[in-house]
């Protein structure tokens, strides 16, 4: 069986302007959504607060739960039903750090029983203090940054044999970021600045493959973040794990195309670069789509059957795989052509 016939030749490169426009539009939507929502919606892992999952013996109105919460001093808690409706699970979120108080769960159970006349069972409590939340936020940003940086060293080294150049550059960036972070600069700003510096350096040092890969990665992660923001979903630790996995996955795709480009550059050195890139994308197209398909199949199984806790994680991964597949065809490879225009103008 074959979905993609051998010898297929779709002209991806010619449509790259359209693809760039689509990507740009998605990125603008991401920015707007983040601006309107005033940044990502942080879950309690990052914002601090308390999350309580309660299972009731029967279905209860949310208003009743809220009344019960009011009795224990949680007026501003938000309540929503969680997972499948048949299990009567509810999530309570509050920015208070009540659980540290002695006897909290006892009084909560009592208040909820009185207010709802159903039997509540506290299945999960997560309380994160503001300091821990802030620490985790910074750690998450650093993790993303270092993952990107290490990966670019690897790509520059493997594809352009510029191990030392990229290593020195990455080392300098890491040192600068570390040094500046000692002065209590906002970590988000710092890392955004470091990424921009990285891109500019790649551009001037003509680290084409690394540039293509990192632009694709930033593109994928940003758009996933944007879609999460649009749907008003929460950022939690597992979502950061999903984003890092997306980085790994999307790169996987990109590298396979790059590998083929490098091979074809040797094989058909007379052909023009756009032709070679297009041929490489077509030759690997079957594999790109197949792998995305099998990955999507298991992710869908996880999304549908995995239960509430893993729901958002698998959703983030699904978006990431879709966008990662798109970007390795339409974003990463066409960027290799960016230097062509510059060379011609000289």
């Amino acid at each position: 069986m074959q979905f993609i016939k051998p010898g297929i030749n779709i002209n991806f490169i010619d449509k790259r302007k359209i693809a760039f426009a689509v990507s740009a539009a998605l990125l603008v939507v991401t920015m707007l959504s983040l601006l309107i929502h005033q940044g990502p919606r942080y879950g309690i892992d990052f914002a601090g607060g308390t999350l309580i999952q309660v299972k009731f013996s029967k279905s209860v109105p949310i208003a009743d739960i809220k009344a019960g919460l009011k009795a224990v001093g949680l007026q501003n808690a938000s309540v929503q039903s969680f997972g499948e409706a048949a299990t009567h699970d509810y999530l309570i979120r509050t920015d208070k750090l009540e659980t540290a108080v002695d006897g909290f769960s006892k009084s909560l159970i009592q208040a909820l029983t009185e207010a709802t006349t159903a039997d509540p069972d506290i299945r999960r409590i997560e309380m994160v203090g503001p300091q821990v939340g802030k620490d985790l936020q910074e750690k998450a940003l650093f993790a993303m940054f270092y993952a990107l940086l290490f990966i670019t060293i690897y790509i520059s080294g493997r594809f352009e044999l510029k191990w030392i150049l990229s290593g020195v550059m990455a080392g300098a960036l890491m040192a600068a970021v570390y040094f500046l972070s000692l002065f209590h600069v906002s970590i988000a700003m710092l890392i955004a600045a470091a990424l921009i510096v990285t891109l500019v350096l790649f551009w001037f040092l003509e680290l084409k493959y690394a540039m293509g890969a990192i632009v694709a990665l930033i593109h994928d992660v940003s758009i996933t973040v944007g879609i999460f923001s649009l749907l008003n979903l929460e950022f939690t630790l597992p979502i950061i794990a999903a984003l890092l996995t997306i980085i790994g996955y999307s790169l996987n795709d990109t590298i396979i195309v790059f590998d083929r480009i490098r091979e074809n550059l040797k094989k058909y050195h007379r052909d023009a670069l756009p032709v070679i890139i297009n041929r490489s994308i077509n030759e690997t197209l079957s594999r790109t789509l197949l792998t995305s398909l099998t990955t999507l199949v298991v992710l869908l199984a996880l999304f549908i059957l995995g239960g509430g806790i893993i729901h958002d994680f698998s959703f983030a991964m699904i978006i990431g795989v879709l966008i990662g597949t798109y970007s390795s065809i339409y974003v990463a490879s066409p960027i290799l052509l960016a230097w062509q225009g510059r060379a011609r103008k000289r």
């Binding site: 994160v128 794990a241 790994g248 298991v298």
Partner: protein
């Protein structure tokens, strides 16, 4: 063929090792007794991060020193206007009269060498001193306090009886506690978080309690409460006491604390026993204060305040209160394990009930099964015979990850299961790459044997490159992650490694077996 035989040995060894490590999870009596650890999110339990308020330890050290200083000054008949804490980190001293000043400074040099003179002002026979602890000393106190708190908490949890607790320092002042399978989290939290500062103090009977309650608290005394809960009505009753601030004796001298049952009312109480020195102090206090009330105060709450009937020698006492059996038992544990050198605050708490953990395991395994089956069926339909080879690799992958988890004693979490599921999707990737390459080579008219050779040779480097980057992301994730996320990083890394092994070594060996040993002339791909 020699080439095949060493590969065969490696494959058999790896599979055998994986099987040996997986079996104990299914039947725990088997060697090597290392079953796969389930994370707190799967088996239920509690994860706590505590902050030790080490500043308080510094403060209480200073308070103790100023207390000693006053006592010594009184003993040496040095008249002073003030020896008191000034803010959190210093002691302020005010003395007038040259003779007093000279004596005091001599005493300071002899007995309080650890103090630093931060500020000294002498004006016409009046000396004002600000004393504090040098930086190295406060650092030492803070470190000691954190280390001691860790030790005390470990002690308490050991005595409480939790299987496989994980208690460790995190950074300078934080303590990470993981208690798997614990059900009464409320009780565990109280047990861990209690400072358990036991003090014996005299009740101030010279002053009137009512005037003190109106705000006129006499110097040297304070109002503390006794809190009693009626077990029937659950009404909480707070009784105020006027207690002298000066502690007569602390829990530091305890050697024993155990629960006993009152024969008359059948109420549990905690009986305590002092060491020799403590017993002597206790005897002196009781002898000096017959017919006065001695309050037993724990963490600034009065437990009881009995009247001393006669001198008590032997160093035994009992702490009564309206305890339940559990409360009495927990109190005995914290008293035995000793007081925390400084209070602790809960910074982070994650509790998962056992029912939710079971749900998560069931759902995780279910999605793994469904997702895995779909991929297996798809591979056979798309690649036929070769698809079957890939499926063998896939199933072996799961076995290898499970074996790896057990061998490295890693923890399986819910995101970890997600990582395995993801690996199922991505593990076929390496095979897809190879198969597509083989199809291309076959399309160029090569023989099956040559096509397989070329396919593997060309695809190997690509597969390595692609997987190394995923591995980089997974390792960064491992560095950054806590608990569940770390579990995800572990399974993802194991998945990448095992899929490299199955794709590059195992499936290759299977193809070679059919093409070379069995001399199969066509290839089903």
């Amino acid at each position: 063929m020699k080439h095949i035989s060493w590969r065969l040995i490696v494959i058999v060894a790896v599979i055998a090792a994986a099987v040996v490590y997986v079996l104990p999870t299914l039947n725990s009596s088997l060697w090597p007794h290392k079953s796969i650890n389930l994370g707190l999110d799967l088996q239920g339990g509690m994860h706590l991060v505590l902050q030790v308020d080490t500043q308080k330890a510094v403060e209480s050290t200073l308070a103790r020193i100023s207390h000693e200083m006053r006592a010594q000054a009184r003993k040496a008949r040095i008249k002073y206007q003030k020896i008191d804490l000034a803010g959190a980190n210093a002691i302020a001293v005010e003395i007038s009269g040259q003779e007093n000043i000279d004596q005091f400074e001599a005493m300071l040099d002899d007995d309080f060498r650890e103090l630093r003179i931060a500020d000294r002002q002498a004006t016409d026979g009046r000396l004002n001193l600000t004393l504090d602890l040098p930086q190295t000393e406060t650092e030492r106190i803070r470190k000691m306090a954190a280390a001691q708190a860790l030790e005390t908490i470990r002690n308490r949890i050991d005595q409480f009886g939790v299987s496989e607790p994980d208690i460790r320092r995190q950074g300078q002042e934080r303590i990470l506690i993981q208690l798997p399978g614990i059900e009464d989290t409320e009780r565990a939290k109280q047990l861990i978080g209690k400072t358990a500062q036991l003090e014996f103090k005299l009740v101030d009977e010279a002053h009137d309690l009512d005037t003190a309650l109106k705000g006129d608290v006499p110097a040297g005394s304070e109002i503390l409460y006794q809190i009693k809960e009626d077990p029937q009505t659950r009404r909480v009753q707070r009784t105020p006491f006027l207690i002298k601030k000066r502690g007569m004796l602390t829990g530091a001298y305890l050697t024993e604390a155990r629960v006993e049952i009152d024969s008359q009312y059948n109420d549990p109480y905690v009986s305590i026993k002092f060491d020799k020195k403590g017993a002597r102090i206790f005897e002196r206090i009781t002898a000096d204060n017959v017919k006065k009330r001695l309050a037993i105060v724990l963490d600034d709450t009065v437990y009881s305040a009995p009247v001393i009937q006669e001198k008590i020698s032997g160093g035994e006492a009992r702490i009564t209160g309206s305890f339940t059996a559990e409360e009495a038992r927990d109190l005995a544990i914290v008293l035995r394990a000793g007081a925390l050198p400084a209070p602790v605050n809960i910074l982070e708490e994650r509790t998962v009930g056992p029912s939710l953990g079971n749900d998560s395991i069931r759902k995780g395994l279910m999605s793994m099964l469904v997702g895995g089956l779909l991929v297996v069926v798809f591979m056979v339909i798309y690649y036929r015979g070769a698809g079957l080879v890939a499926d063998v690799a896939l199933i072996l992958n799961i076995l290898l990850i499970a074996g790896g988890l057990a061998a490295f004693q890693a923890t399986l979490t819910l995101p970890g299961i997600a990582g395995i599921i993801l690996t199922i999707g991505m593990a076929v990737d390496a095979n897809v790459l190879i198969f597509e390459r083989i199809r291309e080579e076959l399309g160029l008219g090569k023989t099956p044997h040559a096509a397989v050779d070329a396919g593997y040779n060309r695809a190997t480097l690509t597969i390595l490159d692609a997987n190394v980057t995923t591995l980089i992301a997974a390792l960064v994730l491992f560095q950054f992650g806590t608990g569940p996320v770390k579990g995800f990083a572990v399974t993802l890394s194991l998945g990448v490694l095992s899929s490299l092994f199955t794709a590059l070594i195992l499936t290759r060996a299977i193809f070679d077996f059919f093409l070379i040993n069995r001399k199969v002339k066509t290839i089903s791909i």
